[in-house]
Symmetry: C2
Subunit: 536 residues, 2 copies
């Protein structure tokens, strides 16, 4: 369950759409017995439906025995997951009907699937993120939640021409399997690309294509890397707040997380250096450039210090770098990888992707790392999905080797800063001093803090009422509830148009002001304790 | 290392190409200290090079201290992997040179990567498979090793037209992320497709698109499934011989394997029923239709029996079904999934792929399973690579929904049986009674046995001399060395042209006859003990 999604065009009544999704979440164990549903009024606001609709959805679930309403406690899940095979049917078996092979229907022909599943760490969702997803899934809101570049700038026609050329040139070969390490010319082009990036930071590094592996997006690059290095129980030093998908990967591989705070100069390397001897992490994961969600850039002295720590304590660095080419101002800093290689080191596994520079749909990411790691990644890749789509690798090779990616990045570096400026200006104009932000030098995100008296959890509902969606900051923190995160939020400025930026910041301003007035009106409102998080 | 690959066009001398690949395998730990290299003469034959070339390669390795030649024992690895950080550099760090950031070079800036890697079960290669890969990688041999359909029949022009249409129709959307479960219309089209397949076996089953997940190939479908169900130490009942990639996946997830023999009627379900109470496997993996490598089809009574076992002992069945649409004669049998659903059951997780019906390059496979499993697969997919290329999903949807896949399968079902017949005839004509085969009703493979006095290991070298490559059967068996497997081989008939089938079977015949004459000439040749397997 990634938030409740309703379809107003559907013939299925809204309350049944809602109850069906909550029922599925309960059956999946995503909401435990005893857990509380989102209060009716709040869910109605998030979804922009009448409160009656939610009331009816919860009544439906109550009549089925899944939940019980309690005065003062809200709606509580009262469903014990079965330990027999009885209750895991989902109705579709009932649709099956046999012509030739009819046999007696028996309860035994369904297995207790829920109990047969192996545990999966790290797959849970934070309730606030679910609320945010519920709002973001609405078609009638302005989206500041995205983590992707702007679709109207996608080079669709170039993609079309390049794919046609690829198929005409080498169709049979490109529809075949390719080596697990990736398509050779693309690996060479990426090595050249990384060299050119290092040169913009005045480093001359000659990257070796043999140390590059192509993955199905940088998510896979990260998964392969974690799978190669992590054994259950290992500790991973990781920034907080950080990219949630990374935390999920490490947890799914059985790692525990050692969270290191991030400030405007990136990871607090000083603190890491104090902890590293005592805690002995297996690896250090960092997003040093235009970090997600904070947009911060790790300072050069911290980069050097981090490399020193890696060699002193023999702890590998995993550098996740999807955003560095999206710099809008200031001088480029070298990646940790480039800095390391320029000094003759070999301490960094570097991950990047085409998803933020071009678009995410091609699913092309890559890893550059030491050869023993690369060979192991190829073995794991062979096991998890054999190889990466060769046709698409050819297309990305064409974008790189013909300078089309460079041209496209020029376009983005013109368009995005305008939206960013406009967003910053909009927040200043409409925010009434209730919101402040760290204007980044690049990337996709504007990291903001609201007035101390406000809670972003409440802003989410007020904004949903106004029709604007954003990502609350707290779920990006690893240790929740997080005092540091509770009044933070992440705004994306690459997806919305300029007009949407204007209107969205105006709506956010209205929500902020209303919330502030409520907070002032409430007795002790600003200081009241956070309630236990209800889950939907 | 997946076999030694030499490039005769390269400026690098052949002996250095060979020594570099063996050195890498030693550094990777793929050949352990004390392990033996393939004898010089044999490797020279497999690679079709002068023996001197291999002698020089081994001398090079000896001079570097990686191996030592022993009279009577051959060439033995004498390299201890370091427990310090010293020996893991691969030279590329030496290429790096610093302009602005030069610091003192220190041995400490390279980490002991080999020791930092987590153990990976199941990634090892069988030495005979490596030998076969070494032969198959040569450009001057006829290929009977393939596991893919015929590239000259790929519908390249249709792909081109469909991708253009997709980009013109919905380019921005298709270059974006899609849900982890897959592109809705493709899921619906696959449900309809499975229903149509069931109908050919006289079963009316209404498959639910909500229970289908799109994966990056059926290899990923299998990995996700194993990851969802297997905990380290679990036992998996699996056919022997079987698809090696499946065994690798289960082992990588920490499973132990319970091998169940296969005969012409598929898995020996009777034996499984005897073992299941004592051994309690966590799941049963089967490839019931045109099995890889044997081409066998599980009989209907065994299919029913297997479903009964699954419900009686509450053991899920994972049905891997890449080949069933490639039937050339005889009546279709229902899949285990269709049989199960038609009886109102829910005991089967079904995997299939477009790789054998269309081509492997799109990396599109799918899973149909119980909803709790599907939801878990989507969670894992989210962690391992987020989602599958939407553009390509649209293209496969077009192939399915417009009947193009059906048309394409008609073409294949005309072309492939001709090649199969020709191969069977060629073996009969040239094999001198030294080879017999189980002619399959469909699929890609012809499973053969050579005369008892011959070893397929030796045939591999003789065939390499003649310029024909095949897959030895023994590595497909789970318990090697396998007495049952030692005189088996798998021939692919879909990749080679008719002319190549003729010439390849002729060459195989020459190799067989020469080998047989050698065996007769040797004192006690047929009965001699198998030597310990040398590893390269």
């Amino acid at each position: 369950m990634t938030g409740i999604i309703i379809d107003r065009e559907s013939d299925v009544p809204l309350y049944l759409q809602i109850s069906a999704q909550i029922r599925a979440a309960i059956l999946q164990g995503e909401i435990e017995n005893g857990g509380r549903l989102t209060p009716e009024r709040r869910l109605a606001t998030l979804l922009n439906v009448n409160r009656t609709t939610v009331v009816n959805a919860y009544r439906e679930l109550a009549s089925e025995g899944f939940v019980t309403g309690h005065v003062g406690r809200g709606t509580v899940v009262t469903y014990q997951r079965p330990d027999s095979s009885a209750a895991v049917e989902d109705g579709s078996a009932g649709q099956a009907n046999s012509v030739a092979e009819a046999g007696p229907r028996s309860g035994r022909t369904a297995l207790p699937w829920q109990q047969l599943l192996a545990p999966l760490a790290g797959a849970g969702y934070d309730s606030m993120m679910l609320d945010a997803s519920t709002v973001a899934a609405r078609r009638d809101v302005i989206q500041f939640t995205s983590a992707t570049p702007s679709p109207e700038l996608y080079p669709v026609e170039q993609v079309d021409a390049i794919l046609s050329e690829a198929l005409e040139t080498a169709g049979q070969e490109l529809l075949q399997h390719t080596p697990s390490e990736g398509f050779e010319p693309l690996r060479a082009a990426l090595a050249a690309w990384m060299g050119a990036q290092a040169a913009t930071a005045d480093l001359a590094v000659d990257f070796n294509p043999g140390r590059i592996l192509i993955a199905s997006g940088s998510q896979q690059a990260l998964y392969l890397t974690a799978r190669a290095l992590i054994e259950p129980g290992d500790l991973v030093a990781i920034e907080s707040p950080t990219y949630l998908g990374a935390a999920q990967v490490f947890r799914a591989c059985g790692a525990r997380l050692l969270s290191i705070p991030v400030d405007r100069d990136g990871m607090n390397v000083e603190l890491l250096s104090e902890l590293i001897t005592r805690r002995r992490p297996k690896l250090i994961y960092t997003l040093p450039t235009f970090q997600n969600p904070t947009g911060s850039v790790m300072a050069l002295d911290r980069r050097k210090r981090l490399l020193d720590l890696a060699s002193r304590y023999q702890v590998p660095i995993v550098e996740d770098d999807p955003y560095s080419a999206l710099r809008y101002r200031g001088r480029p800093l070298p990646s940790l990888l480039a800095l390391d290689r320029a000094r003759g080191g070999d301490r960094v596994i570097y991950l990047s992707t085409m998803s933020k520079m071009l678009f995410p749909g091609f699913r092309i990411g890559w890893v550059s790392g030491p050869r023993p790691v690369l060979e192991r990644l190829a073995q794991i890749k062979q096991i998890v999905d054999l190889d990466t789509n060769a046709l698409v690798q050819w297309a990305v090779w064409a974008f790189l080797s013909r300078g089309l990616l460079t041209d496209h990045l020029e376009t983005l570096r013109e368009a995005y800063p305008l939206r960013l400026e406009r967003m910053v200006r909009g927040l200043a104009a409409h925010g009434n001093g209730l919101i402040e932000c760290d204007q980044p030098d690049g990337g996709l995100y504007l990291w903001c803090r609201v007035n101390d008296r406000l809670r972003v959890r409440d802003l989410l509902a007020e904004s949903a009422r106004e029709g604007v969606a954003f990502a609350p900051g707290e779920p990006f923190f690893l240790d929740t509830p997080s005092e540091a995160g509770r009044n933070t939020l992440r705004l994306n400025f690459t997806l919305p148009s300029l007009a949407e930026v204007d209107e969205g910041t105006r709506r956010l301003g209205i929500a902020l002001v209303r919330l502030y007035e409520q907070a002032r009106g409430e007795t002790g409102g600003a200081g009241r304790r956070r309630a236990v998080t209800p889950i939907v």
